[in-house]
């Protein structure tokens, strides 16, 4: 194995001390690991739906903006050593206008906003599962103030809350000013109106309406997403940034569209503005619950990418071919998904690609219900990114006794169940003949891969997204991240890292974060996003060295970890 001593570099090694010289374009020309011209999925960026509203935020206040820019440039140059001694104002600067509008001065505003996003905060929280659930509350109400959904408790009991929320939102909407604040009791509400989004921060930690049950010291962040005819509200005590919470709300909104379609939703409220939408959403609560829970632990939403089930490319090819050969009328997408939201393959009509956000909703549908395990099912589903005004009709079935992989055949025709059922039977026969289902079961049983396999000491875990294919891969979570609480903490760290590298007027390309329990590195190029976790003592050069090695490993394994060629009808 001489090749191992003299590896061919898929990417340029990083010069340890001058990262600025590694331009993303160099890397792309070399071919980012897992890159492909294939159009199975739409290459989506994180926050693509909410960028406009957020970016503006950073350009408000001239002085603040310049300061921000300087700091960021500098930190990029210095590899942004973000140690734990960074001052709180470090974060406060990212939402300068809110800070400005907080009449009570700097300290207060820091406690209100600054701490929310701080990794210290993440690391120091106590993480009982119950408490964690309570960290985030999600409500949906109609513009008329009628409750539609609540994550905790019962909507009926929250009618007053919903009414107050709605009053708050109209208060904000009626004002031309972009920023308003209002004091109600001991709370200060700061509003930022960026149609169609309204951001609200509440600056004091006293019981608010019915939320006292999960209120703990510290402040809560309220995030509103106004998507007429519904308003979504997130009240969070977690470390997530406003964008991340908005992303959650956007997914929750899309989940509702997926059930009702946008046109149906608007028509209902046009006819009757105080309609009780819960009637139409019966049975949908568990999908909303599941989605919100998934977003608290699965990185696919944050990364706007999907994770593939590792499979030899020859096996995946046979699967793709087998599915592609069984055509049926108006079949638009065939999606095969393994346990734990791992994509096996997508076969599609040539002219259509799938958006990862739509695929996430499909995953959630399969993940949240065992109903499909007992029989073949037939259900309308709207994929908001594909067409928010119409349904596709989904034939769902598991392909084997163990329910290891669920096949969805999505057609534009509502009368083709039996045709699809036949196609499914043929697919099963073929996949069994070539032992593909066996291969899927084996891969599922084996799990992802241990980071030790890569042979990089000190590397504990990583997530790598290939941007061109909207797919990501990550190693298994191993010690010290086997405990639920530690896993969640690490996930919070990744959210923080993600937030920092994405979230500024000029995004950081590389961030090296030294924490007390681990050191993390985030790196964005035009071809990929990489988030890696090391032991706390790793040095910068060692980490960079490791990353180069890691990229080579991913390149070597890319056929197995990513879907680089897809099949079409």
């Amino acid at each position: 194995m001489a090749a191992l001593t003299e590896p061919t570099l898929p990417v340029q090694p990083l010069p340890p001390n001058d990262l600025e010289e590694v331009t993303p374009d160099d890397l792309v020309e070399e071919g980012a690991p897992g890159a492909s011209e294939d159009h199975m999925l739409i290459a989506a960026e994180s926050y693509e739906d909410i960028n406009v509203a957020i970016d503006e935020q950073y350009h408000r206040g001239k002085d603040e903006k310049d300061k921000t820019k300087n700091e960021i440039e500098q930190s990029a140059r210095e590899l942004s050593i973000d140690d734990r001694s960074t001052t709180p104002s470090d974060e406060g600067r990212e939402t300068p206008k809110e800070e400005v509008s907080s009449a009570e001065g700097k300290d207060r505003s820091n406690s209100m906003l600054g701490n929310r996003d701080r990794p210290q905060h993440v690391e120091e929280e106590c993480y009982s599962p119950e408490w964690r659930q309570r960290q985030k509350h999600v409500f949906i109400l109609s513009e008329a103030g009628k409750p539609i959904y609540t994550r905790h408790g019962n909507e009926d009991k929250l009618v007053t809350t919903m009414g107050v929320m709605q009053a708050l939102v109209s208060f904000v909407q009626d004002n031309d000013d972009n920023i308003r604040f209002m004091i109600a009791g001991s709370h200060k509400f700061v509003f930022l109106n960026r149609p169609p989004v309204i951001l609200v921060c509440v600056s004091h930690s006293v019981c608010f309406f019915c939320f006292h049950r999960f209120m703990i010291a510290g402040s809560h962040k309220f995030v509103f997403l106004n998507r007429p005819p519904v308003i979504l509200v997130c009240v969070s005590h977690s470390a997530e940034s406003t964008q991340q919470l908005l992303l959650h709300l956007t997914y929750v909104y899309n989940q509702i569209i997926s059930v009702l379609t946008f046109s149906q939703l608007s028509k209902i409220f046009e006819k009757k503005s105080n309609y009780d939408l819960r009637r139409l959403l019966t049975g949908t609560e568990k999908f909303l619950d599941n989605l919100i829970n998934l977003m608290d632990r699965d990185a696919m939403f944050l990364l706007s990418a999907v994770r593939c089930l590792p499979l030899a490319s020859s096996v995946r090819d046979i699967i793709g071919q087998s599915i592609a050969q069984c055509k049926a009328k108006d079949l638009v997408f065939a999606i095969l998904v393994g346990r734990d939201n791992q994509l096996v393959t997508v076969v599609r009509m040539k002219e259509h690609s799938l958006h990862p956000a739509d695929l996430h909703l499909v995953f959630n549908l399969v993940d949240a219900s065992t109903s499909f395990q007992s029989a073949e099912s037939w259900t309308p589903i709207c994929l908001p990114k594909f067409n928010s005004n119409g349904y596709l009709h989904a034939h769902l079935s598991y392909l084997d006794e163990e329910c290891s992989a669920c096949l969805l055949l999505l057609s534009a025709d509502r009368d083709v169940f039996f045709e699809l059922s036949e196609a499914r039977q043929k697919i099963v026969t073929r996949l069994n003949k070539y032992n593909c289902l066996q291969a899927i079961r084996e891969s599922l049983a084996k799990g992802s891969y241990k980071v030790a396999q890569i042979g990089i000491p000190d590397l504990r875990h990583f997530m790598y997204k290939s941007k061109s294919t909207a797919q990501y891969t990550s190693s298994e979570l191993e010690a010290p991240y086997t405990e639920e609480g530690e896993r969640h903490r690490l996930f919070g760290m990744y959210q923080y890292l993600h937030h920092r590298v994405h979230n500024s007027a000029r995004p950081l390309k590389i961030l090296f974060h030294v924490g007390s329990k681990e050191t993390m590195l985030g790196w964005i190029t035009s071809g990929f996003e990489l988030y890696a976790t090391f032991g706390p003592l790793v040095t910068k050069p060692a980490a960079i060295n490791a990353i180069n090695k890691l990229l080579r490993w991913i390149k070597k394994e890319e056929d197995r970890l990513f879907i680089l060629n897809s099949y079409t009808y």
Binding site: G283, K286, T370, F372, S374, T379, A394, L396, E401
Partner: protein, 220 residues
């Protein structure tokens, strides 16, 4: 021996126990944690009744309001409809009546109707009397059975009678749309029923997510 193929649609409000009844019958089991049906589920079942091999194709519908517009897809070609309500929930009984009206309006051929009052194990909470339901069933010329998917009461009987009615229909009404053809003989057991297998989808599956609790009742 003849073979007959029939389509059955199961209608009723969400939570009355449609899926539980079907799974009890087809899969021989009951799960407290049956997941609410999404859209509709398709089951097949084969059995032998009298001199007939009967193949049932069952559409178990979701019963939620938003799927209502999809319902014609399932009942249009059905030979029989099971109209399930929950005996502890008056509203679910009223829901049955609206289904009957809809069937009468939209189904052209003959459709055998069977009203099923489910959850008899919860008899202490009964809201719909047997007399009232039977009377109603009579008035629409439907069969009537009370069942419990939990204790497996009455379900075999209901399906047997529906099958017998289907056979009768195929003999008397040539335009019934029922597929009848000659097939090979098979043995009968004491009940006159032999289950010789479960359809394409095996329903004995291990449940992945056992704590899949949900909608306990349509009246909640």
């Amino acid at each position: 021996m003849k073979s007959i193929e029939a389509k059955i649609v199961v209608l009723g409000a969400q939570g009355v126990g449609k899926t539980s009844v079907v799974i009890r019958y087809v899969g021989k089991l009951f799960s407290k944690h049956v997941s609410p049906t999404i859209g509709a589920s398709f089951f097949t079942f084969k059995m032998t009744v009298d001199d007939y091999r009967v193949k049932l194709q069952l559409w178990d519908t979701a019963g939620q309001e938003r799927f209502r517009s999809m319902a014609p897809m399932y009942y249009r070609k059905a030979n029989a409809a099971l109209l399930v309500y929950d005996i502890t929930c008056r509203e679910s009984f009223e829901n049955i009546q609206s289904w009957v009206d809809e069937l009468k309006k939209n189904v052209e051929g003959t459709i055998i109707m069977c009203v099923i009052g489910n959850k008899t194990d919860l008899v202490s909470r009964r809201e719909v009397t047997r007399e009232k339901a039977e009377q109603y069933a009579d008035s629409i010329n439907a069969l009537y059975y009370e069942t419990s998917a939990l204790t497996n009461d009455g379900i075999q009987e209901a399906f047997l009678q529906v099958s017998l009615s289907l056979i009768k229909l195929s003999q008397t009404d040539k335009s019934s749309g029922l597929t009848v053809y000659d097939g090979s003989a098979s043995l009968l057991n004491a009940d006159g029923i032999i289950e010789d297998g479960i359809g394409d989808m095996n329903n004995h599956r291990r449940r992945r997510d056992s704590e899949d609790s949900n909608n306990a009742s349509c009246c909640s």
